[in-house]
Amino acid sequence: MSGQASPRPAARGGTRRSGVRRALSHPSTMIGGTLVAFFVLVAIFAPLIAPFDPNASDWLGVRQAPSAQHWFGTDDLGRDVLSRVIFGSRASLAAGIVAVTIAISIGVPLGLVAGYFGGVIDAVISRFTDALLAVPFLVLAIALAAFLGPSLQNAMIAIGISAMPVFIRLTRGQVLSIKNEDYITAVRALGVRDRNIILAHVLPNVLAPIVVQVTITMAVAVLAEASLAFLGLGQRPPAPSWGSMLDIARQFLTEAPWMAVWPGLAIIAIVLGFNLLGDGLNDTLTSQSEDS
């Protein structure tokens, strides 16, 4: 479930701007970016796009097949599936953004510190990371979400913590690979404070693979949110989430298969978007050769 960006030397200095331009014109980045942008717009303008109130029940129109009025049909409580899919994008994107923010804001500093200082700090952080990584990602997220109680907010925290160790390891590896390069040793010899070295010289040069990992982790986080919601550990009803829509749909596979189709397609589209974006950025930002 958790892909990891390949640790390649970062593009540096003058090549960075052209790297960004190159990244944006890469077909994967373009398609992925468009998909992601589409869902971001859908999430922002959900109230304007959705034909119905996503939580409005209609007792007389329960589990109706797709029709001119309800394009995606209605669910077990007579709610419009299309409107729920549209509003569901909010839970998914919020989960991705918050979880990744948590993961990087803890993971990257720990990785920087571990890689830069080495020694005991590094050993402690690394063993801790190993231990977290040895527990299957989803199991950790399930246990954390169960501990915090079922809600979207708690699912986001659980996913964020579970996704954190990847960032620690990645950042640490990157720092180790550039730590002893001439320009770092040079600044250090000048007596610049460690904090400033890390922020001004180390961080910018390990940023590219982290950016790639962020997009990949967005994909993982969106999938994880859907998984937790599917297990009843996500968004509280009646607010829609694609995962919980699928959990309910599973009960009505014979009578109302449309309930299961659309939320799943939405998940695939948005996750594919982030994955394409990640691929494109990986190809262009983290390598200067014409490789892969």
């Binding site: 029940s57 409580l77 007579g78 079922p150 009803p237 009646p238 959990d247 309910i248 009960q251």
Partner: protein, 501 residues
């Protein structure tokens, strides 16, 4: 993997393969995995289904909820209704070959009363002493008359286990020894429980299968598809939306019974609960009036359950006929809210996170909001929910109570002051008086009058709003004969036979 572990794996796999299904095995699909296999500590409905095959009880019920003999063939009360004399069945043996007698009854009841982790202690607490008169006669002595006692003995509290095997609860639970038609063979947690026919069973002629395999299949769709495919013979708790698939299939048969269970919206009325409903009975009435129970039943259960306003289901003779289910009246509800002076009353419904309760909660939310309530939903995982429930830490709670053949264990535990399920702080001296009088009354008609009175009190006070009574649905292959389901929802294996026999 070490060699010994490999051997264990192999042995495990062989054990599974040896328990394989033959033509004469009844394969039953259960919705959830039973907990312990000890009637003293077991607490699940699916466990009770397995116990029916494993452990005989002193008494049983029939489809009309009347008491009928099982291990006790006859019973009688003394004049003051404080001594119950049981005549025991001759020639009954436990699965370990030990004879069943009055001493065994005494040992069992005392075990369930004294065992620290026994869940039967409160049910059996009216019994002060068990006296062995002769090997086949035993007397249960009470302090005061207790009418529900007979019905208590028709469930787990009346199940007799072999006293010599019941030493440690943990070991017994893993390897139970009773006197039922089938004896324990093996169990794989969350997967299956295998029983084989006990040749020494007193009623062996009525037992049609050589073995039973209870398979745990949580998904109702999967249970249905497996009886359709013939991979299962019987499946319990068929989903209401799947009934049509069984009714229209000539290879399958549907068995139903109106149930004793009740689902209700439990309202915290403690003053310190701080909910708007706690000290405003008129708002509780407004909430009830905002609900359309028939619509809940229709939307959530395809109309297959019984919408009702009482804790005791219409299938019981103690159901009150004088208090019919009120119609939904949104205008009256709005008026009550207005008169209460509370603007925009906000309530929170806590429930165990299941799809069924989630659906019911969302329907209630939508209905109550039409009347002017703001409803928040708080789904919690089972153990977190129970923790709050026990602590009385909820405003409204969707309770699912399995019910009993006798009305007392439902009404007294929920509404009696100090009742074990009275977790919402409700107390009515008048109701206590009526319920206690009903306990001491052995005459059915007189008890009916008392419970009629009780219904009048609690339906007016509204410490809870009953919503519906689930109906039991069993699906089975048409080739399985002799299934009949009673209101307790238990599959009774006695009399169940393959069609060819």
């Amino acid at each position: 993997m070490t060699v010994s572990m490999k051997l264990t794996v192999l042995a495990g796999l062989m054990a599974i393969s040896m328990a394989s299904a033959s033509a004469q095995t009844l394969r039953v699909g259960l919705q959830d995995d039973p907990d312990t296999m000890d009637p003293a500590t077991g607490g699940t409905y699916s466990g009770r289904i397995v116990f029916d095959a494993l452990c005989d009880k002193l008494l049983d019920i029939n489809e009309k909820l009347e008491i009928v003999p099982q291990l006790a063939t006859a019973w009688s009360w003394n004049d003051s209704n404080t001594e119950l004399t049981l005549k025991l069945r001759e020639g009954v043996t436990f699965h370990d070959g030990k004879p069943f007698d009055a001493e065994a009854v005494k040992a069992n009841i005392e075990r369930m009363q004294t065992l620290k982790e026994s869940k039967r202690r409160s049910e059996l607490s009216p019994i002060k002493q068990v006296e062995v008169v002769d090997p086949m006669t035993v007397v249960l002595k009470l302090e005061t008359p207790f009418a529900p006692l007979l019905s208590v003995l028709t469930d787990r509290a009346g199940m007799m286990v072999s006293p010599s095997a019941a030493t440690s609860t943990d070991e017994f639970a893993a390897n139970p020894v009773c006197s039922g038609p089938y004896q324990f063979e093996s169990r794989s947690a969350r997967d299956k429980i295998s029983l084989k026919k006990y040749p020494g069973y007193w009623n062996a002629g009525e037992i049609g299968y050589d073995a039973i395999e209870y398979q745990v299949i949580p998904d109702s769709t999967v249970r249905l598809s497996r009886i359709q495919a013939g991979d299962l013979d019987v499946a319990e708790r068929i989903a209401p939306t799947d009934l049509e698939a069984i009714r229209s299939n000539s290879d399958l048969a549907l068995y139903t019974s109106a149930g004793l269970a009740v689902s209700h919206l439990f309202i915290n009325v403690r003053p310190e609960a701080k909910g708007v409903l706690a000290d405003k009975p008129e708002l509780r009435k407004a909430l009830e009036l905002s609900l359309d129970r028939n619509a809940i039943n229709k939307v959530a259960f395809n109309g297959e359950f019984t919408a009702d306003n009482q804790m005791i289901p219409p299938s019981s003779v103690y159901h009150s006929t004088r208090h019919p289910m009120p119609e939904r009246d949104v205008d009256a509800a709005r008026k009550l809210i207005e008169d209460s002076g509370v603007s925009n009353p906000t309530i929170e419904i806590t429930y165990e996170n299941s799809l069924t309760d989630g659906r019911v909660a969302q329907i209630i939310q939508s209905m109550a909001q039409e009347a002017g309530f703001t409803v928040n939903l708080l789904p919690l995982e089972t153990s977190s929910a129970i923790e709050r429930y026990l602590a009385g830490n909820f405003e409204l709670y969707i309770g699912n109570w399995s019910g009993r053949a006798d009305p007392d264990p439902t009404l007294y535990t929920f509404f009696g002051t100090g009742g074990s399920q009275n977790l919402n702080g409700y107390s009515s001296p008048k109701l206590d008086e009526v319920l206690i009088a009903a306990r001491k009354e052995l005459d059915t008609d007189a008890r009916k009058a008392l419970y009629e009175q009780a219904a009048g009190i609690y339906l007016n006070d509204r410490p809870t709003i009953p919503l519906y009574h689930p109906t039991w649905f069993y699906g089975a292959r048409a080739s399985v004969k002799g299934i009949s389901i009673y209101p307790d929802g238990i599959l009774r294996v006695t009399g169940v036979k393959p069609a060819s026999n």
